[in-house]
């Protein structure tokens, strides 16, 4: 059986992980390094079959540390490169994720979340890696963390992860989960735009860390890449704290001032007395819950965050001004609710709804929580 690289006009049944692999190919990914892990393995298996046929590279490495290392190495030869894993592997990747951030390396890391910590509940779903995706590596850094809530979305957001990674020269993390990875939906793959990293106008005097422009190894400018703090030239500057802070703030500003980074979907929020703020797989149940509530005459709305980090602080702050309460369902014990609460800053009530038992929320469960909030009988969570 062969698949077309370009989107199909006719719908077909695709698994979430397969959609991720197809999105990567569509984005121009030519290098994949990985290590087997449930529930992400089908991404690797699909690319192991598909990459050789397009002249790309697939390699199964000895562990997830080596997988991300190989990806970063490949990225510096000019390749669009990615890896995919789940919690235990994502933990191992934190070291080299920090290296990718420090060296402004475009690459994509997919984390299909399963319930942890440790080996945890390997086949059960979770949204427990939201904070790890932001803060898992040591030190401060600019982060780019995206999510998806349908199989079609997985395809689209994989392309977007590559695009934003290329545009801002950052490692992009795409958070999936066990359910979405293994779910099959009938999908018409959307048309997408593909972005590529920008080459400098001239090789002469090129400084690899002066901005978003990029030259790979072997292209005429001698490149120095290091995880040490460094100058724009790449030369290490391991004692220049002020310079390192300046470079960090520049990287943060670069991504946070791009309005194209803050992807989200709003639904029925204009008149909403309560907005459900959800992301990833939970956004599906949240949308259904919002419809249930609307049918009952409750003015409920939905904000689905597709980009979690950088956190869309002003978006949430504006929303908090115009609604009474924000209900935040998450398949963890309350992670994204923390920046939501900070952004709302008391302008709206922020109520978490959590479960960490590997089971999805049902729409009714979220709707019930919303009714409790509106009648002032919500359970108070830590």
């Amino acid at each position: 059986m062969t698949h077309e690289r370009s989107p199909h006009a006719a719908p077909r049944l695709i698994q979430g992980n397969e959609a991720c692999a197809l999105g990567a190919l569509r984005a121009g990914c030519t290098f994949y390094a990985g290590y087997p892990i449930t529930p992400a393995s089908e991404i690797m298996e699909t690319l192991a079959r598909r990459l050789p046929a397009v002249g790309g590279v697939f390699i199964q490495m000895e562990d997830e540390i080596g997988a991300l290392a190989a990806v970063i190495g490949a990225a510096w030869t000019g390749a669009k490169a990615m890896t995919a894993t789940s919690g235990p592997g994502f933990s191992l990747m934190q070291e080299n994720l920090g290296y990718a951030a420090m060296t402004q390396t475009p690459c994509v890391i997919v984390d299909s979340q399963r319930a942890g910590p440790s080996t945890g509940l390997p086949t059960l779903t979770s949204q427990g890696d939201v904070m790890q995706a932001r803060w898992g590596t040591h030190g401060d850094r600019a982060a780019l963390v995206l999510t998806a809530s349908s199989v079609r979305d997985v395809y689209q957001m994989t392309v977007t992860a590559f695009n934003l990674s290329e545009r801002h020269r950052l490692p992009a993390v795409l958070l999936l989960d066990a359910t979405l990875s293994h779910m099959r939906e009938n999908v018409v793959l959307p048309e997408v735009q593909v972005e590529n990293r920008r080459a400098p106008a001239s090789v002469e005097g090129f400084e690899p860390f002066a901005g978003a422009e990029f030259l790979p190894f072997g292209a005429g400018a001698r490149i120095v890449v290091t995880g040490l703090a460094h100058q724009a030239s790449g030369r290490p500057a391991a004692s220049d704290g002020a310079g390192a802070e300046r470079m960090l703030l520049h990287a943060l500003a670069d991504v946070e001032t791009d309005p194209g980074v803050f992807l989200h979907r709003v639904d029925e929020t204009d008149d909403a007395e309560l907005v459900i703020l959800a992301y990833g797989i939970t956004a599906r149940a949240a949308r259904a819950a919002m419809r249930l509530l609307r049918e009952e005459g409750v003015h409920a709305g939905l904000l689905e965050l597709q980009t979690l980090w950088p956190f869309p602080e002003s978006l949430v702050a504006r929303l908090a001004e115009h609604t009474g309460a924000l209900l935040v369902p998450e398949l963890n014990l309350g992670q994204l609710v923390l920046p939501v609460r900070a952004a709302a800053a008391g302008r709206a009530r922020v109520v978490p709804l959590n479960r960490a038992d590997g089971v999805l929320f049902s729409p009714e469960e979220i709707a019930r929580a919303a009714r409790r909030v509106l009648t002032g009988r919500e359970a108070v969570h830590a």
Binding site: T2, T30, F31, A33, P52, A53, G55, V57, I59, M61, E62, D63, I65, G66, A67, A69, A70, V71, I72, G73, A74, A75, W76, T77, G78, A79, A81, E95, N96, Y99, P216, F217, G218, A219, G220, R222, I223, V224, V225, T226, G227, L228, G234, R235, P236
Partner: protein, 274 residues
């Protein structure tokens, strides 16, 4: 024979000097040998990537006028694998310390050897963690003192050559900084070899290893290297090795990983496996 006395500056990033290494350290000698090998081969510095890990040896790429990737601790060979596989036309040389290559990076070392990917791994073996202040390494001999073995090391050391041979490296050599004149030729042969090459070079750390084990200054440590090693020869049944053998332990042609992968791509593109 490599040229000597030639202008190595084409291969050295002079503006990055002076280097971080202590007076008497052997790392500069090894780095010079790497540069000499590149010069002898007339490699285009723009088509060479030096990949280093963390530690004293890992700093080498900064001083070479090639592309330089100073990576994370122990991971240099995994980064090098990605570079070589994604762009096979590049010459990829990994410069590793003994702790970097065999403790934290042991797994990557074994698997790089097993794959027989065309990368040259030069291992600067000073038997100690120098950058962090002289702690024991997986190469520190039994009984030797370090900042973490003040009563003498009770762990047996790894034999890097035996490990590389067992793991499948197809070019394996060992020498010392005492044998400085032989170093460039061994490194050149390793770079020319198509496959995973390991060149272990015993080198002196007078600051920690030498001082803590009363081996004297750098020149006395070079004599010590001479005294504890012997040329690799076939020993008869009755003979006992008088020291650690040095020389070329393996130089054989076996299918190389990138070539095998490219053959697989050819098959896939033709649709043989469809």
């Amino acid at each position: 024979m490599p040229n000597t006395g030639q202008d190595l500056r084409k291969y050295l990033r002079v503006e990055m000097m002076p280097n971080v290494w202590c007076p008497g350290c052997g790392h500069g000698n090894i780095s010079r040998a790497v540069a000499t090998a590149m010069e002898s081969m007339a490699l285009d510095p723009d088509q060479v990537v030096l990949v280093g890990g963390i530690g004293c040896a890992g700093r080498t790429p900064f001083y070479m006028n090639t592309h330089a990737m100073h990576t994370t601790h122990g991971r240099a060979l995994a980064y090098a694998t990605g570079i070589k596989l994604a762009k096979p036309s590049l010459t990829v040389i990994a410069v590793l310390g003994d702790g970097d290559a065999l403790a934290i990076g042991g797994n990557h070392f074994l698997h790089a050897c097993r794959r027989n990917i065309d990368i040259t791994a030069v291992i600067y073996n000073n038997g100690i963690y120098g950058m962090t202040g002289g702690q024991a390494a997986p190469t520190t001999p039994e009984g030797f003192r370090s900042a973490t073995t003040s009563l003498g090391n009770i762990e047996p050391p790894f034999d890097i050559v035996s490990l590389a041979l067992a793991a499948g490296a197809t070019y394996v050599a060992r020498t010392t900084t005492f044998d400085a004149r032989e170093m460039p030729a061994l490194i050149e042969a390793a770079i020319r070899h198509r496959g995973l090459s390991v060149v272990e070079i015993l080198t002196q750390c007078p600051t920690f290893y030498g001082r803590m084990n009363r081996l004297g200054d750098a020149s006395q440590m070079l004599d010590y290297e001479r005294d504890i090693t012997m040329p690799l020869v076939e020993l008869t049944r009755d003979e006992v090795a008088r020291g650690l053998p040095i020389g070329v332990f393996r130089d054989e042609v076996k299918p190389e990983y990138v070539e095998r992968y490219q053959a697989l791509v050819q098959r896939a593109v033709r649709g043989d496996d469809a």
